[in-house]
């Protein structure tokens, strides 16, 4: 697999220059547009000084591109960079936890993309980005990666003869999900995306307000409001626009969703204008989390997240989320489809009556402090304290009703949450540490809290409060048996 060291695509230069221009736009306009042909000496000095700085930035961008080289040797990425102080970096493919690919509009125009290998390192050296490379090159890098990760699996549990067979099956990709028109419609209403029009309209109104004299317009508006049919038409029009806007924005975000997998990896692709793709080796999925907001629970929808030890990039992009508006049944089925080692059990155990008692008795520090503060500063609003107490207890009861747990061979499932529920599913071998906690109150009622820690960025703690102490004991014992089924290097 020997190959020459490569540079990123030359388009990296204009791409970076664009960033420089954007970052310094304010100064550029200030110095060269607004003060063009100025007589003031200090302005001239500033202009020249800033020009020197800009030239330096341009040169450094070019040099950075020139000196940044990567090479793949024996399943390891070697990166050299820097002109005066050189830096060498080696990242073994086996340590790569997931791959992210982002294709913005700019990338798309020139058939380029940006690819990032995420490792599980805790510092910011964790990701290996290739910011501007051709799509062909990105594909090659990804293939190189999956080949190496594939080989490691075969080494562990297969003979040479299996190798060919597996390689053949690797290329077969099954598509598990692409949203239909109905799905997009459902998604757009569930996410209330049509409400997003309101701030936009408000901004437009404000801008118009600056240009026109709205006082007259208000008078006109008043006369218009008198005629009911104009109001009705206007209202219908606005609703139509809002809904259309919602659907379009949802389509842009979730329209081209595709969840697929092959023998070895899971792929999630989405976005119409800006495309983002996420892929992870099945073995490297640390846990699965199913979250349901209140609205989604009412509509029977759920969001499934694959938890990776590597970074998953921009939080807002939610690249590691399987389609966020799957019906619950479909969500459960899909987890088992794409991750055959996970078995999701629908019926789980509830918390005991004892747990309910403890939860009712446990003092709420927040409520006590607030009440003391109200009593001290403003006794007139005493009812706030009552409302708060009612609210806290409602949430507690809801959480009690939603809490579930289950140990199912190698799999552990926790569910909790009051308004938004979250079901966390992981395998024993992926749990890196456990904790059992017992407060005096819990001891009195024979209860305990259990907690698992999983790799993620940052590490993922999942805690379930007030399970019976017998169960906590079982949980503890269950974890000590993990040595049976872990792979040792």
């Amino acid at each position: 697999m020997e190959e020459h060291a490569k540079r990123l695509h030359p388009f990296k230069i204009p791409f970076e220059l664009g960033k420089v221009m954007k970052g310094n736009l304010f100064f550029i306009i200030m110095l060269y547009v607004l003060n063009f042909g100025t007589e003031k000496t200090y302005m001239k000095v500033l202009q020249i000084g800033f020009l020197v700085y800009l030239v330096w930035r341009v040169i450094s961008v070019i040099l950075q591109w020139y000196t940044y080289k990567y090479q793949i040797k024996e399943g390891t990425v070697h990166i050299t960079s820097g002109l005066i102080s050189k830096s060498f970096r080696t990242v073994p493919f086996l340590k790569v936890q997931n791959v992210q690919r982002r294709t913005t509009l700019f990338h798309k125009l020139f058939n380029l993309t940006s690819l990032t290998f995420e490792t599980g390192m805790t510092d910011d050296q964790g990701s290996v980005p290739f910011e501007v490379i051709s799509q062909k090159e990105a594909k090659r890098l990804e293939q190189e990666l999956s080949l190496i990760q594939e080989l490691s699996v075969i080494e562990v549990d297969g003979t040479e003869e299996d190798t060919l067979e597996i390689f053949e099956s690797v290329s077969e990709k099954t598509i598990h999900f692409t949203p239909t028109k109905q799905d997009v419609l459902k998604a757009s209403f569930t996410s209330l995306s049509f409400l997003a029009l309101i701030p936009i309209v408000a901004t437009i109104y404000n801008t118009l307000d600056d240009f026109f004299n709205m006082e007259n317009a208000e008078g006109l508006l008043a006369t218009l409001l008198d005629t009911w049919w104009i109001v009705t038409i206007a209202l219908i029009g606005i609703i139509c626009i809002a809904v259309a806007f919602g659907i379009i924005s949802t389509f842009v975000k979730f329209g081209k969703y595709e969840i697929s997998s092959d023998h070895e990896r899971v792929y999630i692709k989405k976005g119409v204008l800006d495309e983002s793709a996420f892929s992870i080796q099945k073995e490297k999925v640390q846990a699965v989390e199913i979250t349901q907001s209140l609205i989604k629970r009412m509509l029977g929808l759920a969001e499934v997240k694959l938890i990776s030890a590597g970074s998953t990039g921009d939080k807002e992009l939610e690249t590691n989320t399987l389609y966020p508006f799957l019906s619950v049944d479909r969500a459960y089925a899909m987890i088992e489809e794409i991750l055959p080692t996970y078995k999701v059990e629908r019926s789980m155990e509830r918390l005991s009556k004892q747990a309910f008692k403890v939860r009712m008795l446990r003092p709420s520090l927040f409520w006590i402090l607030t009440t003391v503060a109200i009593y001290y500063f403003k006794p007139a609003i005493w009812y706030v304290s009552v409302i708060l107490l009612a609210l806290i207890y409602t949430l507690r009861i809801l959480d009690y009703k939603n809490s579930r747990y289950l140990l199912n061979n190698e799999i552990i499932q926790f569910k909790s949450g009051s308004l938004e529920t979250s079901l966390f599913i992981t395998k024993r071998s992926k749990v890196i540490q456990i904790e059992v906690e017992r407060s005096k109150l819990q001891k009195l009622f024979g209860l305990a809290s259990i907690e698992t820690v999983n790799r993620s960025k940052p590490v993922h703690h999942t805690k379930l409060q007030d399970v019976s102490v017998e169960y906590a004991d079982e949980f503890y014992t269950w974890y000590t048996c993990r040595t049976q089924n872990i792979q040792v290097e």
């Binding site: 599980g120 071998s429 540490q433 456990i434 017992r438 790799r455 004991d473 872990i486």
Partner: protein, 164 residues
């Protein structure tokens, strides 16, 4: 708890109580000094009234905190701290009011470190911190011989690495 698994049994050194008492005394004295200086300055420059009240309140709180952290807490901490290291797991148990049991697989240990500050050195003690991917776990105040043995033991067991 512990119907199937042996609970951790090893205790930390009795001397640790003295070490904690000294540390806490010093910390509390330093805070007291800072607050007193502030109070003095407050008097001298006649700052707003509430500042004086707050400072006095803090000093009263500090007094109670000092009683707790110097006389009571160290005894409880030492009394309830347990740990154990086997080939496969590190077990810790701590807390009087709220009992916490931790179970850390050996294969997830990434580093072991011995620490000794001036106070620990006085009693020839070490604290061990065990770094994993998730966090760092401390076993405070154990004797020198035990500490070295434990470090080598963990280092030896932790050599085995899991595929992750």
């Amino acid at each position: 708890m512990y119907s199937m698994i042996q609970p951790p049994t090893k205790k930390i050194s009795k001397e640790s109580v003295k070490v904690w008492r000294m540390t806490e005394t010093i910390t509390n004295l330093v805070i007291l000094a800072v607050l007193s200086i502030l109070l003095y300055v407050d008097n001298y420059f006649a700052w707003k009234e509430w500042i004086g009240w707050t400072l006095t309140g803090l000093i009263v709180l500090l007094f109670f905190h000092a009683i707790w952290s110097i006389f009571i807490e160290p005894i409880l901490l030492q009394k309830y701290w347990r740990y154990d290291v086997s080939e496969e797991f590190i077990q810790t148990k701590q807390g009087a009011w709220k009992e916490t049991h931790e179970l850390i697989p050996m294969t997830k240990v990434q580093s072991v470190k011995l620490n000794q500050g001036p106070l620990l050195r006085k009693y020839n003690l070490y604290s061990i911190s065990i770094g994993t991917m998730g966090a760092s776990h401390d076993i405070p105040a154990i004797s020198e011989k035990e500490a070295y043995e434990l470090r080598d033991k963990i280092a030896h067991f932790a050599k085995i690495k899991e595929v992750d």
